[in-house]
């Protein structure tokens, strides 16, 4: 009996953790290039809103994902312009983006609240692979396509970051932009690119929320997921593969907060992911070896300009 429970929790954790994974992968890229974007919550909610409306109007969830992601990416470019060109304090600019996203969708979304989405992504099982004991039941049974896209993206982004010349460039720009600049690298361009990736994936994660997770539009439906993404970025030590594990742990917590409701008070359950957000860094810091590895990119949050004497 309890084995079924565990398998079911893990299976659902994948679906619940996918929006977090997408957002975290994006923020990892943004921060790896040296830009701190605290606007994830705002970009996710914009993605959720635009994704919902697009799907509602066109009846095509894939168009919803695309437009949600593009809007997230476009919003991130505001942050990019402010922090790369105007060199404003990145914390302020990111917070402004979050408030902007929440406020704008709150106003525009009034008429759309409570309207259910008729189409969504279908769940399917992967033939043959779902027969693998336990692993098949967890990973390959009744999942939606976005779960696999998230996993695939994690692998792809890990490979790009650590195995290609572009990855070396991104990491170098985030560690020491002056050195990268001296070797002829366009620091601004790299940072714009990575900021856009961050916004694009946050928007995609947001669209997942309003199309798959809860196929409808509610004001403020991201409910702090953007902030969990920021925390997850740190827990995963800016590493796309560790982010997969982190996102699914949080996914399982979100699932359990529904599943355990008959026995535990719902208020307590709802705070679980947020409580873990506070506990995780304490646990991480207690471990010496982990603490030593927990280095943020060297130039994170610092504006760069070439000094002329």
């Amino acid at each position: 009996m309890w084995q079924l429970w565990v398998v079911e929790t893990l299976r659902r954790a994948l679906a619940y953790g996918t929006p977090l994974l997408l957002g975290t992968l994006g923020e990892i890229y943004t921060e790896r290039s040296g830009i701190l974007n605290l606007g994830v919550e705002g970009m996710m909610i914009l993605g959720a809103f635009v994704g919902f409306i697009t799907t509602f109007v066109t009846k095509n969830p894939w168009l919803g994902f695309l437009f949600g992601a593009l809007v997230g990416g476009a919003a991130s470019l505001i942050h990019g312009f402010l922090s790369i060109n105007l060199r404003v304090t990145q914390v302020v600019s990111g917070l402004a983006l979050t408030l902007f996203g929440l406020g704008l969708t709150g106003v525009l979304g009034r008429g759309w609240e409570g309207q259910p989405l008729k189409v969504s992504l279908s769940e399917f099982s992967v033939p043959f692979l779902n027969r693998i004991p336990i692993l098949g039941d967890i990973v390959f049974t009744e999942q939606n396509m976005l779960v696999y896209i998230g996993l695939g993206l994690a692998l792809l982004l890990w490979w790009l970051l650590f195995k290609t010349s572009w990855g070396i460039t991104v990491r170098s720009v985030g560690e020491d932009p002056a050195t990268a600049d001296a070797l002829g690298i366009n620091v601004s361009l790299v940072r714009y690119g990575c900021t856009f990736i961050g916004g694009f994936l946050a928007g995609l994660g947001g669209a997942y929320l309003s199309i798959v997770y809860r196929p409808s539009w509610t004001q403020g439906m991201t409910a702090g997921m953007g902030w969990i993404v920021i925390a997850l970025t740190i827990f995963s030590l800016w590493h796309p593969l560790i982010a997969v594990g982190g996102a699914y742990i949080f996914g399982s917590l979100f699932y359990l907060s529904f599943r355990l409701q008959p026995w535990v008070s719902p208020e307590l359950l709802t705070i679980m992911p947020y409580l873990f957000t506070i506990l995780a860094p304490i646990l991480l810091n207690a471990n010496r070896k982990l603490r030593r590895r927990m280095g943020a990119p060297g130039a994170l949050g610092l504006p760069y300009s070439r000094e002329e004497e």
Partner: protein, 493 residues
């Protein structure tokens, strides 16, 4: 290649900084392939400025460069690298958490998919050819300083350097590593590359250089083949040192002695580590009495920076004792970063080291009228020129800012005053001003002057300590006869 056409020629290069400091003044140098060309000079002689111009970081006001006889333009580091000019900075341009291969491959335009594939073999090839042991997979942060330098050299060679500029390359190395570096340089020389070796260490220059150019105050004072210097002949090195340090016209400052026996600072057997954990102060003892200026002179990087930091309480001691009787006034070298808060107003800066004093504050409230009066009086007495005392300190020129800091620290009437490079980068008018006030302060305090400028130390000091590689040699008055000896001592001779 015609041996007579220099690989690179510098013609009439002049560079004036916005502060009015002329760092390079009509410099002409010819550097040939297959030669190690030492550029010798004190701090502030303009060596590094010239090399920064050559490597595209700064732009010259006038003058030109000829590469193998034809004029070239150098507008950016990229263009400079394109001409084969690569500089290894004193502070390495390496990314510590990344591997050697990742650092070398950055910006090289290698294959997107497997950037490190060919590079490891290339690094090994270069390592063998130049006897530069480098493990491509090691992380920079795990390497010693000497190894990091080798990575920088391999990085330069792989980028096709034909003219390699090394800025003070030996200052961070152990004697063993220095010998290895010289062997590498000699191999490069054999391949027809030009090595420009910037230094202030005479002994090393005589060991390795083929040609020596001496800069002083932004001008070339000598450019001679090294073979013309007879190393064995007594006086040959001294001749070079004199050209480098220069026989400073000692500005006559009236300096009546202020006799006193009160010791205000006592330092004994002081030992200090620098940020990299190397011991840079190796057992220094001296004292400073009230009424005297004790001048510590030395070329930068010989431990004086750590010494001052330790005395100011900014750096822990490894061993020895420091005994300070009374308060300390401190005029730091970095006047913008440590000497003042750039965003605060002149008035606020003027009470920065005594804002809790009951003259200026009642509980947690400032007494603004008395602060205004005090700041106004300081500005008048020390001639700080500014539109108002309410403008931020960042609007002050270097000389005015230094006067403000001087005003603040001198008016506190501390028993000990530490002045670190107090006139660095100031114009002549401001220098005289600072000197006059420092000498006047001897009535109330003992002054520890730390400077790289021998002329300043001669002009102000009652006793002089020369610091070289963490050790101090103390000279008593009269200095007239010892001038040359003190100058040579700074270069380690």
């Amino acid at each position: 290649m015609n041996r007579n056409v220099p690989l690179i020629s510098v013609r009439g290069v002049t560079k004036t900084f916005s502060g009015g400091l002329r760092a390079n003044d009509g410099i002409d140098i010819d550097i040939r392939g297959g030669e190690i060309h030492a550029i010798l000079g004190e701090n502030g002689a303009g060596k590094t400025t010239l090399m920064n111009i050559l490597s595209g970081i700064y732009h010259a006001d006038s003058g030109e460069f000829l590469l193998r006889g034809s004029p070239i333009h150098i507008r950016s580091p990229k263009e400079s690298i394109g001409h084969g000019i690569v500089m290894v900075h004193q502070h390495f341009r390496l990314i510590p958490p990344h591997t050697v291969a990742e650092n070398i491959v950055l910006g090289l335009g290698t294959s997107f998919f497997s950037p490190l594939k060919g590079i490891e073999r290339l690094i090994r090839d270069f390592s063998e050819r130049y006897n530069l042991e480098v493990n491509p997979r090691a992380r920079i942060c795990d390497l010693s300083v000497g190894e990091q330098q080798r990575v920088e050299i391999v990085k330069a060679l792989i980028r096709g350097a034909t003219i390699l500029i090394l800025d003070e390359p030996t200052s961070v190395l152990t004697p063993q590593e220095i010998r290895e570096l010289f062997d590498i340089l000699k191999t490069m020389k054999k391949e027809g590359k030009a090595v420009i070796f910037i230094t202030h260490k005479l002994e090393e220059v005589l060991q390795v250089a083929d040609h020596i150019t001496i800069l002083r105050k932004g001008r070339v004072t000598a450019s001679i083949p090294a073979s013309s210097v007879d190393r064995e002949k007594r006086g040959a090195k001294e001749e070079l040192a004199k050209k480098m340090v220069g026989r400073e016209v000692i500005l006559t400052v009236k300096k009546p002695p202020v006799p006193s026996e009160d010791v205000v600072l006592e330092v004994s057997d002081l030992r200090i580590l620098d940020d990299r954990g190397r011991q840079t102060v190796k057992g220094i003892s001296f004292d400073v009495r009230k009424g005297e200026v004790f001048g510590i002179v030395g070329v930068a990087g010989n431990g004086q920076g750590q010494l001052v930091e330790a005395l100011a309480g900014l750096r822990p001691l490894l061993g020895g004792t420091v005994n300070i009787r009374g308060d300390v006034g401190y005029i730091p070298e970095d006047r913008m970063g440590m000497g003042s808060v750039q965003g605060l107003t002149i008035a606020e800066n003027s009470i920065l080291t005594q804002y809790r004093n009951s003259c200026f504050a009642h509980g947690f409230l400032f007494d603004l009228p008395s602060i205004r009066d005090y700041a106004g009086a300081l500005m008048t007495k020390f001639s700080v020129i500014a539109p108002s005392m309410h403008v931020p300190a960042k609007q002050l020129s270097g000389g005015n800012l230094q006067r403000l800091i001087l005003a603040r620290e001198l008016s506190r009437n501390t028993k000990l005053l530490i002045a670190e490079q107090p006139t660095h980068g100031l114009d002549v008018g401001s220098i005289e001003y600072v000197w006059r006030f420092l000498l006047e302060q001897r009535k109330n305090a003992g002054i520890l002057l730390v400077s790289g400028d021998l002329g300043e130390v001669f002009a102000l000091s009652d006793r002089i300590g020369v610091i070289f590689q963490g050790k101090l040699t103390i000279f008593e008055q009269p200095f007239v006869e010892k001038e040359e000896e003190i100058g040579l001592r700074m270069t380690g001779l």
